[in-house]
Symmetry: C2
Subunit: 193 residues, 2 copies
């Protein structure tokens, strides 16, 4: 009934995500996005409404890929310290892409975009909650299993380790090497006692 689309919207979104992730929101132009995705302007606007709409969609895509993989590792059985350090390892691996995107896109958004964009702020907020609650659930399970002392404040620890995850994004984008990040993780995990 009409001319078929010549691109896969999800592939385009993946590439746009990498562009925003690498260069940030304001330093990425529509032309950068057409070059990176191979999709013409009409295609991007018909699918994502605006540059901002594409960016917000990219934040969702980041959660559904990078964060999803981290949470999956977090839920694995075993000592809670192993689950956390395993999840951090997955996170670090995912935060260093072959396409120049380094660090945590959600942390980047929190500092660059969210303070002046309610929509982005809501997505950052939801992400922080998602991560904190997943970690909290894992800590609760460990406490129930006797892996943690019964008086442990799992909510407070969940906040701490969620923040630790964002810190790793900061450190990676700031050019610290893996040994540096590993030392940070080791020190942070020491709060488990």
């Amino acid at each position: 009934m009409a001319r078929p689309r010549e691109f896969d919207p999800r592939e385009a979104l993946d590439k746009a995500m990498l562009q925003f992730w690498a260069a940030g929101y304001h330093d990425t132009s529509i032309r950068d996005l057409t070059a990176r995705t191979g999709v013409n302007q009409y295609g991007l606007y018909s699918q994502f409404e605006s540059k901002r709409g594409l960016y917000l969609a990219a934040l969702d895509r980041y959660r559904d890929t990078v964060t999803r993989a981290v949470l999956a590792r977090l839920r694995q059985a075993g000592p809670v310290a192993d689950a956390l350090s395993g999840a951090f390892a997955v996170l670090i691996a995912r935060m260093r892409t072959e396409d120049g995107a380094v660090g945590c896109m959600m942390a980047n958004a929190a500092l660059e975009v969210a303070p002046q964009d309610e929509g982005a702020a809501a997505k950052v907020d939801a992400h922080m909650t998602l991560l904190r609650e997943a970690i909290g659930a894992r800590l609760d399970a460990a406490r129930t299993a006797g892996d943690l002392a019964s008086e442990t404040d799992t909510g407070q620890l969940a906040e701490f380790f969620a923040t630790t995850a964002y810190s790793l994004g900061f450190l990676l984008r700031a050019g610290r090497d893996d040994a540096y990040l590993q030392r940070h993780i080791t020190t942070a995990l020491a709060v488990l006692g």
Copy 2:
């Protein structure tokens, strides 16, 4: 011998710093800067060469004001845990300005600008070193005084607490309240044993 300048370069720099700090580099225009500082374009260009030059100068100014105050508190006598939590308190107070600038300007620079600007990256790097070494010196002094176990790895702890400081900037800019930050500090300080 010539018409006198009508503005104080340091005052202008302070106001420009607040603008960059609040809105970031790419979302701040020269016109934003002239409006915020009250200085005309000629004045800004004659003093700071370019938008980028002004930004780099603002990063230095941030170190010389905000960070300087934090390090001064860090050096105060008393238990090392008090010195650290006192320094964190000073940092938090300074990271919430009356002019809309929230968080740590250096952390913002690390994520938004440094990955694509060598000059900014060098300043961020130097700042991380400055903070880490100051904390390390304080920890060393505490260890010498017997306030910390002799086998304590003060270098590793200094990295950890420096990162904790940047994390506070992240949390504040992400809209967390003081209680949230305080819980994070309490948990982080638990690594001291």
